[in-house]
């Protein structure tokens, strides 16, 4: 796998996922290791504000990134560390951002909820539920009008399907036949509320019918299933057939945000989902296929952990943003 030095350029880190299943495995490990390290950085008092981990949802990240060529842009949410890594942002740049350092992918002015990497196609992630969906429609509109051929993907949670922006975006995309893929990560919870308490239906994919839009329910724990479903939706979009709603059934192992012990979950739910851990599942598949033996897998795990640790160290040692950064890239107010 690439080191953070090699990966600064961007696109290669996304592209490699389509080419190498071992790279996918390593990226999943990287995502998990990074999220775990963020949790400890928090405990060490190094992280301000809020962070939202995606441990348990890694296959959605890698599946999407492996299916979408580097020219396809993505909008995502505050729960975006894994997606950023999958698309190709380096671990050091993600750590740096979360720690508010100059080496962060937004130079430290954004924070955990506002990752961005124009080179890898990651638009600024939004901290507002649902906000990324209309924006993705706009990315798709640009593509359509300029005949660029690229597709926009927008990633959002189950809870976000109850906000107006979801409805308006799906309708707009359908009526304009926009090349956009709506990727719902149904991890069963919006903050501390289980989906059955906020939403009268179980399968969110059903909501596509209100817009005569095709949809699929996808096993979000299975990288290959995710990758295939996203691929089908991208094909539809690219051939001018318009948008698709994909519902990824998945689960977040940790609480909603760094301060949430997730005591609201029914006994056994987490354990049941761990039985289908996306990384273990994919590792098993690689080993079975002979792509990797157990020793190599263990070695990869050790190597990735080390690399992620090095990236964390790099970020911790990185400079703070210079004072003038506060004033750059904004104008307009009267002082």
């Amino acid at each position: 796998m690439n080191t953070s030095m090699e990966t600064v350029a961007g696109p290669p880190r996304r592209t490699v996922l389509a080419a190498s299943r071992v790279a996918v495995f390593e990226r999943m490990l990287e995502i998990r290791a990074l999220e775990q390290r963020i949790q400890t950085l928090y405990t060490e008092g190094l992280v301000r504000g809020s962070t939202h981990l995606c441990i348990g949802q890694e296959a959605v990240c890698t599946g999407l990134a492996a299916a979408a060529p580097a020219s396809d842009r993505v909008t995502c949410t505050y729960r975006g560390h894994g997606m950023a890594l999958a698309l190709g942002t380096s671990p050091a740049a993600v750590f740096g951002e979360i720690l508010g350092r100059a080496n962060g992918c937004a130079g430290g002015v954004g924070g955990s909820m506002h990752l961005v990497d124009v080179e890898t196609g990651l638009m600024p992630t939004s901290a507002i539920v649902g906000a990324g969906l209309p924006i993705a429609c706009g990315l798709a509109l640009s593509s359509k009008l300029s005949r660029a051929g690229d597709v926009a993907l927008t990633v959002f949670g189950d809870g976000s399907t109850n906000i107006g922006a979801f409805h308006e975006s799906l309708n707009l995309a359908a009526i304009w036949k926009l090349p956009v893929v709506f990727v719902c990560e149904n991890n069963l919870y919006g903050e501390y509320t289980r989906i059955n308490l906020s939403t009268p239906i179980e399968d969110l994919a059903e909501r596509a019918s209100s817009y005569a839009m095709p949809s699929e329910i996808v096993d979000g724990q299975d990288h290959d299933e995710v990758c295939a479903a996203v691929g089908r939706a991208l094909d539809r979009a690219r051939s001018g057939e318009g948008p698709t709603l994909l519902e990824m059934k998945t689960y977040r192992y940790s609480g909603h945000s760094r301060s949430d012990p997730a005591t609201y979950r029914p006994e056994g739910e987490l354990d049941a989902w761990r039985q289908r851990d996306p990384i273990a599942l994919f590792r098993g598949r690689l080993v079975a296929a002979g792509d990797l033996d157990d020793a190599a897998a263990d070695a990869a795990e050790a190597r990735v952990t080390e690399e992620v640790e090095a990236a964390a160290a790099e970020a911790i040692a990185a400079d703070w943003p210079a004072p003038e950064e506060m004033f750059r890239h904004v104008e307009g107010s009267t002082t």
């Binding site: 509109l141 300029s146 926009a152």
Partner: protein, 338 residues
């Protein structure tokens, strides 16, 4: 020189920008096939085609947000909000998303988006369709906000707004749409006029700072007045032209702000504050802040007529104050409590 209605001047500005830059697109409710509820975009779809002039569903969050995404990726969308009041269902996309994008992406993405909307009171549209609502937009770093006072202003401001790299709100006083003006349309090649005020009249006794539909009221008040005034058409409410205001007030030593909205959160407060903090001791008389009462815009003609400042009312207020007395508001005469 030609005689143009304000809505025609806007139409011309849009057409000229669309001609100059294929990335300029227009979208909004009924702006394309029907040419807009106020006919501002008439003929644009015929001329530039249905891909560049688009009708939208009634989904303000959806299409405003789509414009944000399109702007991030090279387009220069001009979004019409039929009545600016409707932005209340979609404000997030503009102030929380668009305005922060350039900052968050460290300049790698910009959002050259224009939100234009009909605005203001005076036409009997009632309390949900008569807002200027500049205060929803001002106070957002990263966003620029202007208000049109006539045909020439409209033309120049819209072209500059479209060429600006940042999201810009241009408020169009609805009441001016059909008003005609003799204009030499200016040549606009960049966005450098964004933020610059225009001196609409010059005089010695006082400085009237105003904007939008009130500019005409101020100019009308000059006619037959026993005093003369600089009338500063701010045009841009964020950023606004502090220097122009200070320079004029330094000369005249008297300041009047004329707003079309009630005082709370109005731009007049910021103007008066800047003068108070920067020209202490240089004013001959108390500054005056003139505007309508703090009530919802009433529908009935009998009431709305009492609501807005007029030339006569402005003149009266200024004359009383020049005599050294504190003027009372026209809308709160004896017996009518505010």
């Amino acid at each position: 020189m030609e005689r143009l209605r304000v809505r025609e001047a806007i139409n011309r500005a849009l057409a000229d920008e669309m001609e100059a830059d294929p990335k300029v697109i227009c979208l909004g409710e009924d702006i394309a096939a029907a040419g807009g509820a106020f006919k501002v975009t008439e003929g644009l779809q015929e001329r530039f085609g249905p891909e560049r002039v688009m009708d939208t569903p009634i989904s303000e969050t959806g299409f405003l947000g789509a414009a944000v995404g399109a702007a991030m990726t090279g387009m220069r969308p001009v979004v019409e909000m039929m009545f600016i009041d409707f932005t209340g269902v979609a404000l997030d996309q503009l102030v929380t998303e668009a305005a922060n994008t350039r900052y968050l992406s460290r300049g790698k993405l910009t959002v050259p988006l224009v939100l234009r909307g009909s605005a203001g009171a005076g036409m009997g549209f009632g309390c949900q369709h008569s807002g200027l609502l500049d205060h929803w937009f001002r106070g957002t770093p990263g966003l620029k906000v202007g208000v049109v006072s006539g045909a020439a202003a409209a033309y120049e401001m819209h072209r500059a707004a479209i060429r600006d790299p940042d999201p810009v709100v241009v408020l169009e006083p609805r009441i001016l749409y059909t008003r005609r003006e003799e204009v030499d349309l200016p040549v606009v090649t960049d966005s450098s006029s964004v933020g610059r005020a225009v001196t609409a009249a010059t005089g010695d006794d006082l400085t009237i700072v105003t904007a939008g539909q009130m500019v005409g009221v101020a100019l009308e008040a000059l006619a037959g007045a026993s005093w003369s005034a600089d009338v500063i058409d701010l045009r841009w409410l964020q950023p606004w032209d502090v220097e122009a205001v200070l320079a004029s007030v330094r000369r005249t030593s008297r300041l009047v702000t004329l707003e079309e909205t009630p005082p709370d959160a109005g731009w007049g407060g910021d103007v008066l504050a800047a003068v108070a903090t920067q020209l202490h001791g240089q004013l001959e008389a108390p500054s005056l802040r003139i505007g309508p009462p703090p009530v919802p815009v009433p529908f009935s003609g009998a009431l709305e007529e009492r609501y807005l400042p007029t030339a006569d009312r402005l003149r009266e207020q200024i004359e009383v104050s020049l005599r050294g007395a504190p003027p009372t508001n026209w809308w709160a005469p004896e017996g009518v409590s505010a």
